[in-house]
């Protein structure tokens, strides 16, 4: 059970696909101009990831080694087509703003990477959890990145979007002190934001590691000085 939990949780922090593995940069940089776009892209990718992980894991015994990549791509493309068509039918505006990046999920490194590195070697249940965790980690990252860029670059916070209704607050409208920093919804802003996020994550990780190391040192020190634990010479 603990392994299942680990496989599920690793996508959020320890092996976060965007921030740690730095995979799937194309959608990460291109579509996170707003929180809603980021969320939509993340969920679309997650659905494809879960589906492809499960199917690849199911057929992992019958795919010949030499043609495994084309086989994965066919499986992934099937799910992408499903997602593409459902989005077009159900959420036309989102589909339009994501545009080409929906079909491009086929070649998303995260999905192909999980199929090759995980689903083709693990059981269906674990692959499902892996896909779900990675997909959710990706979605959360894209959503936060999109929200960050939208707030700074467009000055809006989107409450919800339903069909053609977009409810959002404008933060710095009027003659306030703050101004929206347009660059953050332009391509350079994507790199700035991602860089800031990775840097913050690294700072937290380094600090955590240092604290762990200090705690470990303390334990070692204690065990070395404690007379009861000393080995007889």
């Amino acid at each position: 059970m603990s392994r299942a939990r680990d496989e599920f949780l690793k996508g959020f922090w320890k092996e976060n696909p965007t921030m740690v593995l730095v995979l799937g940069m194309c959608p990460t940089l291109a579509v996170t101009t707003s929180a809603f776009n980021g969320l939509g892209m993340g969920i679309a990718t997650m659905v494809v990831l879960v589906g492809s992980n499960v199917v690849v894991s199911l057929i992992r015994g019958i795919i010949p080694k030499k043609v495994r990549i084309p086989a994965y791509v066919v499986v992934i493309a099937t799910f992408v087509t499903l997602v593409d068509m459902s989005l077009e039918a159900g959420m036309y505006n989102l589909h339009r703003s994501l545009g080409l990046f929906i079909p491009l999920i086929v070649v998303n490194c995260i999905i192909l990477g999980r199929a090759e590195a995980f689903a083709s070697k693990n059981s269906v249940g674990m692959s499902f959890l892996d896909g779900l965790g990675m997909g959710l980690g990706f979605t959360v990252t894209l959503f936060v990145l999109g929200a960050f860029r939208e707030i700074l670059g467009n000055g809006t916070v989107t409450a919800f979007v339903y069909q053609d209704t977009i409810v959002q607050w404008h933060l710095y409208s009027g003659a306030g002190v703050l101004h929206k920093t347009l660059v953050f919804i332009l391509p350079p802003g994507a790199f700035f934001s991602l860089g800031i996020f990775v840097a913050v994550m690294n700072v937290i990780k380094t600090r955590r590691k240092r604290l762990d190391q200090e705690a470990l040192d303390k334990v070692n020190e204690a065990s070395r000085t404690a007379p009861s634990l000393q080995q007889p010479a």
């Binding site: 002190v177 101004h179 347009l182 660059v183 590691k209 190391q213």
Partner: protein, 431 residues
């Protein structure tokens, strides 16, 4: 303009003469505190690999003992003899600041209190950010050397008067933080910090950054009235403003106008750019950034720097001469459309760019031919953007683009060493 005395590797010979001991790599975890196996691998790999910089810095993260250095401090020097110079970072920086003061003063005289507010905000916030980032990086706080002051002042001089305070502060944050601190501080920045800040602001706040004010004391008589789009003289305009105020009409706060270069986009004779005379450009009687309006003040400051030997003639002369040549050719081909050479050299930010920003020690080439190449590149890109680009002015983009090829230029323009072949190809760095 920034310093590079201790940081910029002037490693003419360090590699070949075996003086590489001076450039010893400082591995991340060499001290005995982190004598875990991890620490040892880090140390040995740091010494072994030639990319000691990256190896040591990335591994020092994992050893978690040493404060993380972005790049190991090193001092690569050439072989003897050495001459000890009396200059220091602080002396050079404060001299350059002093040389900028006339141009800044003209800017304040032309655009009034708002210009002073912009300059004070950028300079002050640049100093604060510099101190903050140095503290965060665990370094000695060295704001008294004037490099942050210079960055802030240059940034402010590149903004229009009346830029909102928030935008000024963001500009300083980008200039000091994004362009300098994240690369390791003074001497490590690949791009000119003040210009990076300016270009960031130009992309981020396009409206505020292109709202140019009229000078307070302007000669709006004769044909120049047409340039400012006025049917009456300035005094009448002011009277009208009062009238409007009394009628509870929203009063006019600021009158804006196009800069000479944006007016030039309509064409030289067709548009109104030709109404700006060379005297206007020399005296700064025109809309523009705070620091760029007066050519005389900038030339004065640049000349002092040249005479004191803090900059050499190569970059400014190559820069401005290239612009002049391109302008002369295009003006010769189509005088209706393209402006004459002197207009191009005096208008816009060409002078402040050529004398004060392209000559930054850290981000410009070291050797004479490299400097000339750098200046020619700056001039060409500036003219291409001005004549056929989407922006009216291209000096800042040109300098930043050439900054990015500076290491390459430095590699290929090393001077011949006594006793060696004429040119032995690009040599490896002595790190």
């Amino acid at each position: 303009m920034a310093e590079a005395h201790k940081d910029k590797p002037t490693d003419n010979t360090a590699g070949e003469t075996g003086a590489s001991a001076a450039g010893a790599v400082r591995p991340g975890a060499a001290d005995e505190g982190a004598a875990s196996s991890q620490g040892r691998t880090a140390a040995s790999q740091g010494r072994k690999s030639d990319q000691g910089r990256t190896a040591a810095s990335s591994l020092s993260n994992s050893s978690a003992k040493e404060p993380t250095l972005l790049m190991p401090e090193k001092l690569a020097i050439s072989s003897s003899p050495h001459v000890h110079g009396p200059d220091s970072i602080a002396k050079i920086m404060w001299t350059v600041i002093a040389c900028l003061v006339p141009a800044a003063a003209v800017g304040i005289y032309r655009f009034g209190l708002d210009a002073a507010v912009v300059l004070a905000t950028t300079t002050g916030s640049a100093i604060v950010f510099e101190a903050l980032f140095q503290k965060m990086a665990g370094k000695e706080v060295s704001v008294s050397d004037g490099s942050a002051t210079l960055t802030g002042l240059l940034l402010g001089m590149n903004l229009p008067a009346g830029t909102p305070i928030f935008i000024c502060v963001v500009g300083s944050l980008v200039a000091v933080g994004l362009a300098k601190a994240v690369f390791g501080g003074l001497g490590y920045n690949p791009f000119n910090p003040a210009l990076t800040g300016r270009v960031f602001l130009l992309i981020a706040f396009p409206v505020a950054m292109t709202t140019w004010r009229l000078p307070q004391q302007m000669n709006a008589h004769g044909p120049k009235k047409q340039y400012y789009g006025m049917s009456t003289t300035w005094r009448d305009q002011a009277g009208k403003r009062l009238e409007q105020k009394h009628r509870n009409v929203k009063k006019v706060d600021v009158v804006t106008a196009a800069t000479p270069l944006s007016a030039l986009k309509e064409g030289w004779k067709k548009g109104t750019a030709a109404l700006i005379t060379h005297t206007d450009l020399l005296q700064g009687d025109r809309p523009g950034s705070i620091g760029e309006v007066s050519a005389i003040a900038l030339l004065l400051g640049g000349l002092v720097l040249l005479l004191m030997g803090y900059i050499t003639w190569h970059i400014p002369v190559a820069f401005l001469a290239t612009m002049g040549v391109v302008a002369a050719i295009t003006h010769g081909i189509n005088p209706q459309r393209y402006a004459p050479p002197l207009f191009h050299v005096l208008a816009g930010g060409a002078l402040i760019g050529a004398f004060f920003m392209a000559t930054d020690y850290v981000t410009s080439p070291t050797y004479p031919w490299g400097k000339i190449l750098f200046g020619v590149g700056c001039g060409l890109i500036t003219m291409i953007i001005r004549l056929w680009g989407g922006y009216p002015e291209g000096v800042s983009f040109a300098i930043l683009l050439m900054n990015s090829v500076t290491p390459l230029i430095d590699r290929f323009t090393r001077p011949r060493k006594y006793g060696l072949k004429l040119w032995s190809g690009p040599q490896e760095d002595a790190s």
